[in-house]
Amino acid sequence: MIPAAFEYHRPRSIAEAVAVLADLGEAARPLAGGHSLIPMMKLRLAGPEHLVDLGRIRDLKGIRTEGGDIVIGAMTTQQELIASDLIAAKLPILRETSLLIADPQVRYVGTLGGNVANGDPGNDMPAVMLCLGAVYHVVGPTGEHRVAARDFYLGAYVTALDPGEIVTAIRIPLPPTGHGSAYEKLKRKIGDYATAAAAVVLTLDRGVVATCSIGLTNVADMPLWAEDAALALVGTNLDTAAVKRAVAAAEAITAPASDNRGPAAYRTKMAGVMLIRALARARAQAK
């Protein structure tokens, strides 16, 4: 439980952070809330020689609306998401998901940026971002570009980020008013990662599903966007047969690991059960 030695850097601006990271190359890692990275370092599963703390960079903070999007600074903590009236009103699924992450102590320091950039399939926010069609603002030595969340995840701890790049903000297109959403997470206890979880955002038109998007957490080596499952529901009134087809489509793309949460087959089944429950709640909410 004792990490190897490292150097600590505390840049004051995005530009400075990117410069330091570029300068130090592979030996450096950005540090956000530290609640994924530091445990890994203590277990000596990660051993960066340099930590570049993003905590003092004001431009990485804050939640604002920009046109039809909500833009959230990467260093916004999970607790700040929970406390935000804007999020509660416009993106209730983010608040709901934040409340299912870890425990209050972790949420006071753990950030949204760290959660989405970490690349751990156990993190809850990535599947929600896939579901919402979020876009990540990425800044690196060559400037800023944007990456769709749906293109960001490549495997366990492997993302589209190049060394030296950081996520500065998360841009989320506002779902239509009247949408229904839900995040259903099965876990063993407070502070546990999901056995399986499902995020659903849908809209209804006179009882018939007009749009639907589904994300799944921790049932593959990366978060999953269950496009076929969602398509199986569009145009239906979420009747049992349609839901069954969606569940089958969702289960088909899972490839979970067997671990202490249960064997792979169980976790696949739980992805289906979470989906059914998320659909039911989202539908009840949709107007």
Binding site: M1, I2, A4, D103, R188, K189, I190, R261, G262, V273
Partner: protein, 805 residues
Amino acid sequence: MTEPTSEQRTQSLQGLGCKRKRTEDIRFVQGKGNYVDDLKLPGTLYGDFVRSPYGHARIKGIDASKAKALPGVIAVLTAADLKPLNLHYMPTLAGDVAAVLAEDKVLYQNQEVAFVIAEDRYAAADAVELVEVDYEPLPVVVDPFKAMAPDAPVLREDLAGKTDGAHGKRKHHNHIFAWEMGDRGATDQAFTQAEVTIKELISYQRVHPCPLETCQCVASFDKVKGELTVWGTFQAPHVIRTVASLISKIPEHKVHVIAPDIGGGFGNKVGAYPGYICAVVASIVTGRPVKWVEDRTENLTTTSFARDYHMTAEIAANRDGRITALRVNVLADHGAFDACADPSKWPAGFFNIVTGSYDFPVAHVSVDGVYTNKAPGGVAYRCSFRVTEAAYCIERAMDILAQKLEMDPADLRMKNLIRREQFPYHSALGWEYDSGDYHTALQRAMNAVGYRQLRTEQQARLAAFRAGKTRELMGIGVAFFTEIVGAGPSRNCDILGIAMFDSAEIRIHPTGAVIARMGTKSQGQGHETTYAQIIASELGLPADDIIIEEGNTDTAPYGLGTYGSRSTPTAGAATAMAARKIRAKAQMIAAHLLEVSEYDLEWDVDRFRLKGNPESFKTMKEIAWAAYSNVPPGMEQGLEAVSYYDPPNMTFPFGAYISVVDVDVDTGVVKVRRFYALDDCGTRINPMIIEGQIHGGLTEAFAIAMGQEIHYDEDGNVTGPSLMDYFLPTAVETPKWETDWTTTPSPHHPIGAKGVGESPNVGGVPCFANAVNDAFRAFGSTHIAMPHDNWRTWTAADNLGLHAA
């Protein structure tokens, strides 16, 4: 001013029966406890272990040169360094030896291979990574049944040719001991004649006590005086001192063992571990204090697990539900070394309490201990020795019998519980139960929860489930348990030959203030509060004027420590006995002061008064002063006493628990709707502390039944060695507890108290397990193994076809 009434005086003492707030909490809630790791001695060095990544491997070479070259590293110890001192192995309480540092083979994952000593923790941790060990992996055996196969790999090569174990002949190269109790012939015969029998393999998974504070020590050898001081997380500090002296050859008066505040033990801190030995050796070698502190993973994977008992239980009964015989055969997985912490003559602990609370005419039990490639141990995790195993076994078996007989599980128990008039009761497996009133307890529990209405509701829920109206099943768990605590009488209980008495020394100062010291050691049980209450009632001095000290072997009288709920039955009794010696002397002093015969005096709460003339009295405070100023001619001054108490028998607390759970069939999530626990621990010293102990014990029972497991994969890897996986419930998961009690004093204990700290674990585990099993009973399932975590519960439902669309 009018003299306070005797009730007022009693109340102001805060003695027996008073809900006195815990005096130790004042420092704990302020973060002012004093734990081992708080100790900072100048010049302290830090030790850290190089551990085996393999479950079974030959060590072909160890190269520590890179580690030794790291700045701040003082030395790296290996078995080769300890061997000349004959310290590469240490004796275990069970008559085996355990490796301190592995010599030519490692036998379980994370086994200690080398000990790095450095100027600080960071250098030590870095150096651990630099020690290069060349391993040749060997076939791994983690299943105790497979360990006994004829062609199973030989695990303990050091025991080659050793045909005798500590308890008779070894049957196989991985066999440790065989132990049996009861009447085999009569039992077999009862089974042949039985109208109904049941048989089930009931496995109790390997778990770990997981105290919040891990095991740790600071060893400091003073080269000038030739004295060794060891501060450590010791539940039994005196035993540690004796063992330390015997193996280090340092005379016992030059070994000072101190257990400061301890952050939970639950059995984990009874044994001696390689960390202690290595810290001592390192301090002797360097002449500097050496600190060793386990991290969580080391704690969970190396220092003393619990359970791993595989019990094949059979009951014979008549068709009307009368039980006629019990037979249990156990395969006990002790891991790589037999480091089980039991009294010497009891290799399977008090497992022969397995007849439970029922009147079995005959019974037979046999236990075989085996070696596997798993960590050594086998401690009593919040229970007396192997009692939770026994209670789980019999309580599950009784439910299975009820199912076969189509009887209600509570009714079956009522029919077979030992009756009040049978006490003292001689069990078929050799115990004399001291006292009990089981039927009253169970009836009271059933009334409290509305048992019959619950059963009716369950039927309705089941019908709704079958009709497709709900996906939840309701389960009702009934458990009745008998604990056996207070080890124990010297005739059958010893540790390394030392009788399992316990002790108290009470000294009253001239002003009536008191210091008392015991041979036990609290790890959170509240001894500082409760022992003072015993003294307060016995001596009529306010509990607030009494200080209790434990853990310093230089000042406390010799004792065997705290585990197996033994403190109240043994040291608590010694406290009362010592107080009574003092009171006898006080009576003589009072008589002297009042110029009457001591036989004319009677005790009245806090004073001796003249019979028939209550106006004429001397309070204990006055007597205390006189003890130093005005004693009768010929009497020595002072007012103090020591007592070493050898209990005549164990005590047998008992209880009736009922729980209600709702099982989500589609996810396997089990919600505890209700948990009612009635405990009878005899005389109740501090009802608030009892309630706290029950809450804690039930929470641990919940943890074990619903999720805890130290699981090894086929290759010998522990699959979840951190609190991410190992289930330590928080306030969020923990159910609400309803507690209740009856009081049946122990007839042989000076104040009638029986001990309580571990009862809830003994009764709680089967109560949860029975509730989950009960939810599926209507579908023909007889036994679902613990832990009842989500996927296992879901799998059980799946196997019963409950997920078919």
